[in-house]
């Protein structure tokens, strides 16, 4: 009996740890696509400093909206991203589904549900001026990490006071996954995506797959 109780408590402890741990390189957004702007359930928060991020954007089309929607990840600096749709591998065409090609969702109709996987690769930034990395940048190695600078001026500023600039080489701030109707160019859904520093991602909202 003692062994059973011990294993029950062990399972509770390890499950609590797993349930409360928050993955910071992926998030799930839930939204409604509407002709007059749409709405996202909550902002999705990611921790800056990772190499790759994944946002699973699910949405439902609310009547009477129908049309085609272009999907864009907006923000400054620009991020390198790819969007994939969860279509069946072998489409038997039993039920019509909106088609996704070249970042455009075609033939969205009321009550359609969609799931897009956005894979984001953020650029490396100059920690002083926040310019996006280019080939001519110079490199400085410090505390096991590489930092890149657009000019000697930025490099000198950084070296004078590295603690002030460390962490700023990562993308931070607000981005938006926007769905634009291709005819009217009006947004039918805007999903906020926030990159925060380490330890600031507690309000990331519920994470689904």
């Amino acid at each position: 009996m003692t062994k059973k109780i011990m294993f029950f408590l062990f399972a509770v402890c390890i499950s609590l740890l797993a349930a409360t741990y928050r993955w910071t390189d992926s998030a799930h957004s839930i939204g409604l696509i509407k002709a007059k702007g749409g709405e996202a359930r909550h902002a999705s928060t990611l921790e800056s400093g990772k190499d790759t991020y994944t946002l699973i954007a699910t949405a439902t089309v609310i009547p009477p909206y129908r049309g085609d929607a272009r999907v864009v990840l907006e923000g400054d600096p620009e991020l390198d991203y790819k969007i994939y749709s969860s279509d069946p591998v072998i489409d038997l065409k039993i039920r019509r589904q909106p088609k996704f090609k070249d970042n455009v969702l075609y033939d969205l109709r009321p009550k359609d549900r969609l799931a897009l996987w956005v894979v984001i690769k953020p650029p490396v930034l100059d920690p002083v001026c926040n310019m996006t990395y280019q080939n001519e940048f110079t490199k400085e190695h410090m505390d096991g990490k590489d930092y890149f600078f657009c000019s000697d001026g930025c490099r000198a500023t950084f070296m004078k006071n590295p603690q002030q600039y460390k962490g700023r080489e990562n993308v931070r701030g607000n981005y938006t996954l926007a769905f634009y109707d291709t005819k009217t160019e009006k947004a039918v859904l805007r999903v906020p995506l926030i990159f925060k520093g380490k330890g600031e991602t507690k309000d990331a909202g519920e994470q689904h797959h």
Partner: protein
């Protein structure tokens, strides 16, 4: 003429592998047949069997009920599983679940020396500890086990990843890798391939309760103690380690047993049968 003592085994004993294979082919990529009837591509969405019954902190009753509507196929699946289990035992788990079938099938393909034997873990204790947190963590708002740790999301994507970048994307995330690790560690390299099912599947945990509650009303695996000689052969092949031999007699834990009937196959004394439970 000598009496023929060899009883022909049921199709559920002889052809279990085929049931598992067909279920996997129907449910999993590249075909994903059933999901296409509802414009889905996997268990996520209207087929999700694991989220609709979980109460999340701050949600209203209408939002809770809306979850049932949103996952209507998952609701039908879960109630179908629990209902059929009540009367016939856990045939969904043993013969039809494409996720469990994949893990068990994968385990069979791997050599014995790679396998981990989890049979020293008291499965019901661990399972219901996990299930308690599964419900409570969401209800009190401290986190969630629903989607972050889900083999129903992982296994179909293992197959889909070969074809679809979206399914491959699942595994470039930390959570996807952890899920893959759980499926491998508690599935593919587990002795019997069913440690995940036995310890971490919330549907399996609810199904086991239905199995136990319906004991007097339906058919279950049962052991004729008169015939049993305690040889332990049944316990060795049980993928859910639900058979224990004590004082030269085997006993089945109905809170873990699924009628895979592997024990029935190996019992030389024909002491194990799927029948109306007597005791």
């Amino acid at each position: 003429m000598p009496a023929n003592n060899i009883t022909k085994k049921s199709i559920f004993v002889r052809k279990r592998f085929w049931f598992m294979l067909i279920a996997a082919l129907i449910f999993l990529p590249p075909l994903s047949l059933f999901f296409q009837f509802t414009a889905d591509s996997n268990f996520c969405g209207s087929w999700c069997p694991r989220m609709f019954f979980v109460w999340r902190k701050g949600m209203t009753i209408s939002a809770y009920l809306l979850g049932f509507l949103r996952s209507y196929m998952g609701v039908a699946l879960v109630f179908g599983i629990l209902g059929s289990t009540f009367f016939f035992g856990r045939y969904w788990c043993s013969h039809l679940c494409p996720v469990g079938s994949t893990m068990e099938g994968g385990s069979r393909l791997l050599p014995k020396f790679l396998k981990i034997n989890y049979s020293s873990v008291p499965a019901p204790s661990f399972r219901y500890g996990y299930l308690a947190v599964y419900f409570i963590a969401s209800a009190v708002g401290i986190g969630s086990l629903c989607c972050n740790y889900c083999n129903f999301a992982t296994v179909p994507r293992i197959f889909g990843a070969a074809f679809m970048p979206s399914d491959m994307s699942y595994f470039i995330r930390s959570a996807g890798l952890i899920n893959l690790g759980l499926v491998v560690g508690l599935g593919f390299i587990a002795k019997g391939g069913r440690a995940y099912c036995n310890l971490l599947c919330p549907i399996g945990a609810l199904d086991a309760i239905s199995n136990r509650l319906g004991l007097k009303f339906g058919k279950r695996m049962s052991i004729d103690s008169e015939k049993c000689n305690g040889c332990n052969a049944c316990a060795k092949v049980c993928p859910t380690w639900s058979i224990e031999v004590k004082e030269k007699k085997a006993a089945i834990d109905q809170l873990s047993c699924m009628p895979c009937r592997e024990c029935e196959k190996v019992c030389a004394k024909e002491a194990i049968n799927y029948d109306k439970h007597t005791g």
